[in-house]
Subunit: 473 residues, 2 copies
């Protein structure tokens, strides 16, 4: 099972072997998150929520169900989502008075409340988030973590006094996501989605497209400027300093927790199994006593000393002193789970008050003094995430291929590349790009500035944008 | 608005004033948890989950939807729940092949997976938990936190080798819940539910009934021994040491997060507003600079020094240095939110390097030396939770009333008491108790041993149990 040759089977095997999830739940598109996977998820969410708290967002929790009439208030929004929502129509054996739907996203659950809460300019900006599951009945083939009918995300929703404040906030939201994704070592393009592919109800949408080993891109986050679209539909107004009543301007952004986990696994793991950034690993360090007959007790007690020393520093460490497995079996077990650092403690280590330390990426062994252990572990954490980030960035670059005509575009997508092309911004040319290649127009980058230096790949007229084309999940 | 005279309005006012939740969501029985309330909830869940982790439980996350055919596998279970489940019948404009329901509890979502995971005795015991929302279409009048159609809970599910292991585990689960509830200062009866009121599918059910100011009891937790009922329905078997194949014996238990929050608010708060146990308060300490003209800067900077000193100790502290409110307004604001300790810092405090410290229960003021602050705060935390617990226990005792005949039973329930009666264990007498009083038979206590010393309150024959009768949420 090779990551870049046979992504699908490789990925499924990791999800199963590393106790991330079980895909055998008896309803298509719904999975069971198992313990190791769920602990990673909790750590990712905590990392994000801390950042949101620091930047003035507040947590709340809104109901999972939305009444049909509220869902229908913003015309574009319902058009975009109605074909894939799950409908709750009965309770017990009675039909409900009005249909309810499971949130596919929470604008229409939150904004009726925003209208109640926002009265004056002093109530603004309002910045709310929640980490929840959302529901979309995907008609395409479902894939665990990547395309599911129930998936986990964090959604933030804000209201501002005017367009400029909202606009500034969009940039801040992009920065927040960027910083969290970077701490997870991920690489991606930050793109402005073309107008025909923006979020239903938004003025524009920015997206984070992460690379995936099979060449498809994985949208791990989006940030939208909603303008006054929802404010008008839900009558969210405020009294300004001068006494006038105005509509708020809103933004919202979604951090795809399930998809971020997918990206982390897909970008970092190798053919030995899972690799985890230390910051989100449920155990960051595993200690394995390497015992022989006669000297077991001293080694176990030394291992416990090492354990206590590391634990005192707030590092998530586990001592595997189970006696039913050999050290080799334990190495193999914890490698598959992606624990970033293994500390081996054998009789020689114990006698010399040293430890043997091995990282999950290079498997390089170092013997160090006991007193150096914590310091070494901490610097290895930094080295590991830097190495993951660097490797991932390199791979992203390798995926991108400049193409200048339809034939090479088709070939690039067939070869599982992300194609970089010049485009005139014409709708027909975008449609033709899709037809020719089977890839989607993902948009132009906003993380770097790129100017087209060739004509439009389709019509040959002047190009306005450098855009990226890829298959997508 | 008085707590014991007009509970309902008093409670609604606290929920609103203390930013716990907003009850105006446009679907009956569904509420929006606001920031302060949701932070308290997160702290309660964290406290419980830590305890579950320590005792060998593992977190997982199962889907919110359950297919009808799985839901129907255990006959008693579906009988008990089918009248109140929400049905998902359509996706987009298409009818689903098979109906799905929103989990009212997760036995039938989890146990098909248990059947896949459990193979041998080495896989046992299995102890899984999740903190999620569940859905029951209550037909009685809904009440925020106390009786809702969407409510938050933590549910744990375990599988064991035999009846005795399951039985021992039931006792452990009761202890776990008891210890967490006690840390929240709650008082309640731990009762064995009568057979006619056990959980649908269980062999027996134990429940924690907390007192409520209006005399109704609030079931905040339950623990069930499921025997082999679900194991047989879902074919959950294991191979024992001797090679034989056996059904597992299961237990499950639910910690009603929304109802625990309700109990905490209802038992501890007073007519000034919310009172919180320090362990779950979002801010445990609020610092308020008391400034006058001319000396503001020194006081603010001293307040920041106090803040840093307290924060360093891992105490959740907030410095309210906003300039748009007077100190008096700030006192009032943070009192309503139930912050356990207020530290006032005025010019005199600053000059003498002292602080003035006030707790939320007694409002007693003490002036102490700066160096004593952290130590004093920590011991006040202990005093506060002890005082809350003691007051709550006293109230529970006052609610309980011994009654010996139908007239005084009816009177006791009318007077909003919890009636303590002797009962013959006959079904007809239980039915008559309900008819006479409007209260429900809640069961006999297992936290203390009680032997009936009078005949059955209804039939006059020999009593078998001392039971408690009360109205309930």
């Amino acid at each position: 099972m090779k990551k870049f040759e046979n992504f699908s089977q490789w990925f499924d095997k990791i999800l199963f072997d590393a106790d991330i999830l079980d895909n055998r739940y008896p309803v298509k598109g719904f999975v069971v998150y198992k313990t190791w996977g769920f602990r990673i998820i909790k750590n990712i969410i905590e990392m994000l929520e801390e950042k949101l708290d620091e930047t003035g967002h507040v947590p709340m929790l809104f109901p999972v169900i939305i009444p049909e009439d509220y869902f229908a208030k913003e015309a574009e929004h319902i058009k975009g989502f109605s074909s894939e929502v799950f409908w709750v129509t009965h309770a017990g054996d009675k039909e409900l008075d009005r249909k309810l739907l499971l949130r596919p996203t929470s604008e229409t659950a939150m904004y009726p409340m925003f209208a109640l809460w926002i009265r004056s300019h002093a109530d603004l900006p309002l910045k709310v988030y929640q980490s929840v599951a959302v529901y979309r009945c995907e008609t395409k083939a479902t894939r665990p973590l990547l395309r599911m009918r129930e998936f986990l995300w964090n959604e933030a929703h804000t209201a501002h006094r005017d367009w400029n404040s909202a606009e500034r906030h969009v940039r801040e939201a992009v920065k927040i996501y960027d910083s969290v994704f970077k701490r997870l070592g991920l690489s991606y393009l930050i793109v402005m989605r073309p107008d025909f592919d923006k979020f239903a109800g938004a003025v524009y949408s920015i997206a984070f497209d992460a690379w995936n080993p099979d060449g498809r891109v994985n949208q791990i986050g989006t940030v939208h400027n909603l303008g006054e679209n929802f404010a008008r539909a839900f009558e969210i107004t405020y009294e300004d300093i001068d006494g006038s009543h105005k509509y708020v301007v809103q933004t919202c952004y979604g951090f795809g927790v399930s998809r971020v986990l997918a990206a982390m696994i897909a970008q970092h793991s190798d053919d030995h199994g899972l690799i985890l950034p230390p910051e989100v690993a449920p155990f960051q360090v595993i200690i394995i006593p390497v015992v022989y007959k006669g000297v077991a007790e001293e080694v176990y007690s030394y291992a416990r000393e090492v354990y206590e020393m590391i634990k005192r520093e707030g590092i998530r460490v586990h001592l595997d002193d189970s006696e039913d497995k050999t050290p080799g079996e334990k190495y193999y077990y914890w490698e598959k789970l992606g624990v970033p650092i293994r500390v081996e403690v054998g009789p020689k280590d114990q006698r010399e008050r040293k430890v043997t330390i091995v990282d999950r990426i290079s498997f390089r062994r170092r013997v160090i003094d006991l007193e150096e252990t914590v310091k070494t572990i901490k610097s290895m954490f930094d080295e590991i995430i830097e190495a993951l980030k660097e490797r991932s960035e390199r791979t992203l670059k390798e995926f991108i291929m400049d193409v200048f005509n339809e034939v090479s575009l088709r070939k690039a997508i067939e070869d599982r590349k992300i194609a970089r092309v010049c485009w005139c911004e014409g709708l027909e040319c975008a449609e033709r790009i899709r037809e020719v290649s089977g890839g989607e127009v993902r948009g132009h980058r906003i993380d770097i500035e790129e100017k087209p230096d060739k004509p439009c790949i389709i019509c040959g007229k002047e190009a306005k944008k450098v855009i990226y084309v890829a298959k997508a999940y």
